[in-house]
Amino acid sequence: MRTVNVKLIVDAVAEMCKEANYFLGDDVIRAFEKGLAEEVSPVGKEVFKQLLENARIARDEKVPMCQDTGFAVLFVELGQDVHLTGGDFNEALNEGVRRGYTDGYLRKSIVKDPLERVNTKDNTPAVIHVEIVPGDKIKLTLAPKGGGSENMSAIRMLTPSQGTPGLVDFVVETVSQAGANPCPPVIVGVGFGGTFEKVAYLAKKALLRPLNQPNQDPFYAELEKEMLEKINKTGIGPQGYGGRFTALAVHVEVFPCHIASMPAAVNINCHASRHAERVI
């Protein structure tokens, strides 16, 4: 048993909010550089140039790369041998978000009620996913999620007879219909299997994987490649102005499912694929 004071969690989350919003990952930067070199559309090339410059300014000046600093989505892997002291665990996560978004000059984008729409003014509450795992560590992953790309996401309860083509068509169609809206080039998180709620969670989790780190199962790795190629044939291109880089990656996460079902979910992320990690 290891005792951890929740104050450590507050501090870690606050730092992660800033880090994720100011510093774009090297994997995404490399994908932009590849886009700049290989995009055939001149206006598409210009978009990549701007995105690289934008990431540089954000990093140097410690300002958010995008004004939509997102919904704070937290994935927690909580070791079963950890004993938390010093306060409420969920409140500590929210306090970290509150501090990070306030001290980091990040936008407060959360409204308390979907219809009344009054801003909570501190970007809380966070969306929190906790998984209990073996060990005595706490792994925190923060993925701030923008609203524009989230709005273009979709779930479909496919049926077993639809097979691989059913999944591929659904994923390509969802990205194709989103067009310029989710700030292409996008990253496409696909959940496949499980139940209605599990498949959405898998799609979001798929976005955490570093770019172009394929699924470990060769079949799904090949399927990711096939879907990326199909998406990039739509011609949507960077920012929807036309071009060959509509998506930078497709990531599929798979889970067993019911004999009657074949759920699929597509969670689209804009090019500002932000995350930060800490192990306590």
Binding site: Q67, D68, Y105, R117, C183, Y241, G242
Partner: protein, 184 residues
């Protein structure tokens, strides 16, 4: 890359000179307004009441900026998805707004209203909020401060870059670009 430098506010003549695909650099005053502000403005139109700021001939930028750090004019300030404003845009253009800037697809009613009222829709680079903020030289909340990031702001910009998507003639850069680069 060829660009058209434009000073705001806009006349019909300037609007009618813009074609889908044109790259524009705006200088002068533009106004920030997004979802919540649009709802309020259109409610005023329905009641026959005046707007808190006269936006006839002006440019609206769909943006909810991040807070300014000390020493900054404004925080990151890139465009938000325009389609959510489609419910309000025909009324806003009928009122007399001449250009709207955002990112993403517009519906048929908005595209038609751009032709009917001689107006233009442009996109700025989505997700380039830190870069775009550098072109904003002054920022002041002029209405609805209670909306926080959704308040109406008067922004003074210098060479703010945008690309014409839907012009007053019915052309659509998104459709043209996609057709040009789509593969079988």
């Amino acid at each position: 890359m060829e660009v058209k430098r434009i000073r705001t506010p806009l006349t019909d003549e300037v609007v009618l000179d813009l074609k889908a695909g044109d790259n524009v650099l705006f200088s002068g005053v533009i106004y920030a307004a997004r979802d919540a502000a649009h709802k309020k403005l259109v409610e005023l139109l329905e009641k026959g009441e005046e707007w808190p700021v006269d936006l006839r001939g002006q440019v609206i930028y769909y943006v909810g900026p991040a807070p300014a750090k000390p020493g900054q004019v404004i925080g990151s300030a890139g465009p938000t998805t325009s389609g959510r404003m489609d419910a309000y845009t025909p009324a806003v253009l009928e009122y007399g707004v001449k250009a709207v800037i955002g990112k993403g697809l517009r519906n048929e009613a908005t595209r038609k209203a751009l032709q009917d009222y001689k107006a233009v829709y442009l996109a700025a680079t989505g997700g380039a909020g830190a870069l775009l903020a550098r072109t904003i030289k002054e920022s002041e909340v002029v209405a609805y401060p209670e909306l926080g990031p959704e308040a109406i702001r008067r922004l003074v910009v210098e060479d703010f870059p945008a690309t014409v998507i839907n012009d007053a003639y019915g052309n659509d850069l998104y459709a043209e670009g996609r057709n040009k680069y789509a593969l079988p």
